[in-house]
């Protein structure tokens, strides 16, 4: 194995693996501190997330959301942009999906309605990202600040829309009417049932296929098209990109639109797949979770699929912990998520010097 290969192996696989492991050890310490047997907790968590059909269904359903937001963060990251606005873009994207799914003619075929509703999510997510992108590209306002502010704006906007516009007359809670049937994405258990296999009911729906499709698309786009090349060039070196005839301002706008559009797909899973109506805070936490997923997945679609699955396990397994153990609440998920972010993001290169010393000779500094 050449030194190159070894280095990429260290950076791509060994480091993230050790980082996650460290995060889990730290979580185990937290368990000990609150008087929970970490081994028992691990067993509950793993069984709850993977041990039976329904648990696995939930895990994959959560993972689907994280794939969308993880991809969103990753695409922006390749252009050197830190999109913190996944939360807001997912929220507003849901509005786009909902508008299509509420107001199209109910008699239309699902083959038309579903692609249109997905497009609605993509479009609204992209629109919500375009203003911060413009401000970054042409006015120099930092994308981190503006996207955070746009998350708050999204919250306020959605409350207004749900309370004043979409809420049905006589309805107390701020939620829309049910979507037209044609827009409902089939549940996986229903699909299986139609082929004669019986599996337990779970919120897992066909949006997981949409997530896989977009993972492949993002991979192809970033590494096998000239636009992907331009995006990565801007991310790695603005000066070199300009030299190469690439306009970084345009790239910022386009990349943020793609990023926002991907985040906007959360609504496909949550709204078209499960709830079939628009309601408050359906996006809660997935936008931010996407940042951790992208960090852990090294901004590569394959890594993101793996990381999203892990986060799905944490979400579903954490819920089981809350259910099974008295002194553990669902907040333990947030703690674990935080530790993963700390070790995969903040302390990303913690083990790098040691690994490189033992596994790959470093080049000389002259």
């Amino acid at each position: 194995m050449t030194r190159e290969r070894r280095l990429s192996w260290i950076n791509g696989f060994l480091l993230p693996f050790l980082n996650v492991l460290t995060a889990f050890i730290a979580t185990a310490i937290v368990f000990v501190l609150i008087g929970v047997d970490p081994i028992k907790a691990t067993k509950i968590l793993i069984y709850g997330a993977l041990g039976y059909d329904e648990g696995l269904g939930y895990t994959l359903y959560y993972a689907t959301n994280f794939v969308f937001t993880g991809l969103a963060v990753a695409v922006a990251f390749h252009a050197g942009l830190f999109n913190i606005g996944g939360e807001g873009q997912a929220y507003v994207g849901g509005l786009g999906t909902a508008l299509v799914a509420l107001y199209l003619n109910p008699a239309m075929s699902a083959w038309i309605v579903i692609p249109l509703a997905i497009s609605g999510g993509l479009l609204f997510g992209a629109l919500w990202a375009i203003v911060p992108a413009y401000l970054q590209a042409y006015r120099g306002s930092h994308i981190v600040i503006t996207t955070i502010m746009f998350n708050f704006l999204a919250s306020a906007l959605m409350v207004y829309v749900l309370v004043n516009v979409l809420r049905e007359v006589g309805e107390m809670s701020p939620e829309s009417a049910d979507f037209i049937k044609a827009s409902w994405l089939p549940f996986v258990h229903d699909v299986f049932a139609s082929f004669g296999y019986k599996i337990a009911k779970s919120p897992l729906n066909l949006s997981i296929l949409v997530a896989l499709f977009f993972s492949g698309l993002v991979w192809f786009f970033l590494w096998h098209t000239r636009w992907g090349f331009a995006i990565r060039a801007v991310g790695k070196s603005n000066d070199a990109a300009v030299y190469g005839g690439i306009n970084p301002k345009k790239i910022i706008i386009v990349t943020m639109c793609i990023s926002g559009a991907l985040a906007g797909l959360v609504g496909i899973n949550e709204l078209m797949g499960v709830q079939h109506r628009l309601f408050l805070n359906f996006n809660y936490g997935y936008g931010f979770g996407g940042i951790a997923v992208a960090l852990m997945g090294r901004n590569h679609p394959v890594g993101i699929l793996i990381a999203a699955f892990l986060f799905g396990i944490l979400y579903q397994g954490g819920a089981e912990l809350d259910f099974e153990l008295q002194n553990v609440s669902r907040d333990i998920v947030v703690v674990m998520q935080g530790l993963v972010i700390l070790f995969c993001g903040g302390l990303e290169y913690l083990y790098r010097p040691i690994l490189i010393r033992f596994l790959a000779p470093i080049e000389g500094a002259e």
Binding site: E4, F229, A233, S237, A240, Y243, I362, G364, A365, E366
Partner: protein, 518 residues
């Protein structure tokens, strides 16, 4: 020679970085009160050796003696205490601090700054008188010329009690006149008993200023010479281990029609500061037009404007039948399509993307080409094949398109960039600093290729801070100072003294005396 007059002695100093043997049992002794030159190609281990002396790295084995005392520095602080001062190639100054504040930085003393500042003021006055290092103390460093900033660095070292000064490529950013001034300072320091270690790759300087010279090659110290007993040819041969042709023979230029005509150009840099004004020139096919000048006198800005990276604020550039004005701009891609290739000055930041593979770096600027794109699909196999073929043509080593760009040596990176631009058969070539930070073997190769391009009828605009390079390659030389053209000479008539005067715009030399940039 007695024991006592050895300032620095290195015995069998050895340093590995992983598999790289950066210093291989290096021996060196520097006599007190002399100027000692260390020459070698990039990567020969000079900087590593000096970093060991300055406490940045620790040697794996070997012995170091400073003034006959055992010395093992683990930080630069210890080196300073032992009397070693270092002037880095890139100055370590805080731009918006005054000279006085910069000198005191790192040795402030108590909690209150006032007292140490006034003490420092007295001490600096003394030093300035003693060594002829006059600098205004209460002026912000950013207001000073590069030469003056360098003085501040030297003062900083002396203020901290340095008896040995190490200077890493000190003349890279200076005009010939400023360099001469620096050498006068060296002489004054030497008279006062200060030892100077000069790291450089410019043999001219070694010959004119040093007492002794040591040559490094591939981590080893290959020779020690008394300067008076050697000559540049021998040193060059020792440095690269074979005979080299520094002055490349070229035939007489067959000058054709003008293909690039610049008229009354005025250009602002990225920060909106006017860096080029009233510049007019023309470049003809079949000639090399050299643009000389000290770094930062507008050549870089001009180069970027010619390549379409910066817009011009007034004037016109006629290029391959198109006219560029402040309104009608062409971007770098459009210029490339017209047949204008650009080798940027800053190889690392602009010419390549260090975290991309070689094949991706070889794609930079040409990623929209039809022959590698099929619909939306960028065909990586074609990209790789293309990279392989240009690597072959320019002998880029290792010949591996999948290797990360940053893992090539400077010379090979530069060859890759030149290959990318040359192999598209452009009509106009804009080349910035083709051999900066490139080893001598590659310099020879690169210069030959540039002349070959000229001989096939291309118009070449060459910008370089190396006068020697400009003089040996150019058919015509334009000199820039402070954003304006201060002279034009024929390549055959050029001599260093005249060019130097033009580079400093000697007609307005009043500014030079105070050392303050206008």
């Amino acid at each position: 020679m007695t024991e006592s007059n050895i300032a620095i002695e290195l015995i069998n100093v050895d340093k590995h970085f992983g598999a790289v043997h950066a210093n291989d049992k290096v021996n060196l002794s520097v006599r007190s009160g002399t100027i000692h030159g260390i020459v070698g190609e990039n990567g020969a281990g000079k900087s590593t050796l000096m970093s060991i002396l300055y406490g940045f790295y620790q040697a794996d084995s070997g012995e170091i003696k400073v003034f006959n005392k055992e010395f093992r520095a683990t930080s630069s602080k210890q080196s300073i205490e032992a009397g070693i001062g270092m002037v880095h190639q890139h100055f370590m100054l805080v731009d918006n601090f005054t000279v006085l504040e910069n000198v005191v930085l790192g040795s402030e003393g108590g909690a209150l700054i006032t007292e140490s500042l006034s003490n420092a003021r007295i001490e600096l006055k003394r030093l300035a008188n003693e060594y002829g290092l006059e600098v205004e103390l209460d002026i912000a460093v950013e207001e000073l010329s590069v030469g003056m900033q360098q003085r501040v660095e030297i003062l900083k070292g002396l203020y901290k009690g340095a008896k040995v000064l190490i200077l890493d490529e000190p003349t890279g950013v200076l005009t010939p006149q400023e360099s001469d001034e620096l050498f006068r300072i060296f002489e004054a320091l030497k008279k006062q008993g200060v030892t100077i270690i000069l790291i450089t790759h410019k043999l001219r300087e070694i010959m004119s200023i040093t007492d002794h010279v040591s040559v490094m090659r591939a981590g080893k110290m290959v020779a020690h010479r008394e300067t008076s007993q050697t000559n540049p040819e021998e040193l060059a041969e020792l440095m690269i281990g074979r005979k080299v042709l520094l002055n490349i023979k070229k035939s007489k230029a067959k000058i054709g029609n003008p293909v690039l005509v610049a008229k009354n150009l005025e250009i602002e840099n990225e920060q909106g500061l006017k860096r080029v004004s009233n510049v007019s020139f023309e470049a003809c096919s079949g000639e090399i037009l050299g643009i000389a000048g000290v770094t930062g006198n507008g050549q870089g800005t001009l180069l970027k404007a010619l390549a379409g990276i910066l817009p011009i604020s007034s004037g016109t550039i006629e290029i391959m039948g198109e006219t560029i004005t402040s309104k009608n701009t062409l971007n770098p891609e459009q210029l490339r399509n017209l047949g204008v290739a650009h080798v940027p000055e800053d190889r690392q930041r602009m010419g390549m993307i260090s975290e991309f593979t070689a094949s991706e770096t070889a794609l930079l600027g040409y990623h929209n080409d039809k022959n590698i794109n099929q619909g939306v699909w960028l065909r990586r196999a074609s990209v790789k094949a293309n990279c392989e073929s240009i690597m072959e043509a320019f002998d880029v080593r290792p010949n591996n398109p999948n290797l990360m760009s940053s893992n090539f040596s400077g010379g090979n990176q530069q060859k890759l960039i030149l290959a990318r631009e040359f192999e598209r058969d452009p009509d106009v070539l804009i080349i910035g600093q083709p051999t900066r930070g490139v080893d001598i073997g590659a310099i020879e190769f690169i210069r030959k290729r540039i002349i070959d391009m000229r001989d096939t009828g291309k118009a070449i605009i060459l910008i370089s801070v190396e006068l020697e390079e400009i003089m040996s390659l150019s058919d015509r030389i334009v000199v820039m100072c402070d954003g304006e053209i201060t002279g034009t000479v024929n390549g055959t008539d050029a001599d260093e003294a005249t060019l130097g005067m033009m580079m400093a715009n000697a007609l307005e030399s009043d500014d030079e005396l105070t050392g303050i940039k206008s």
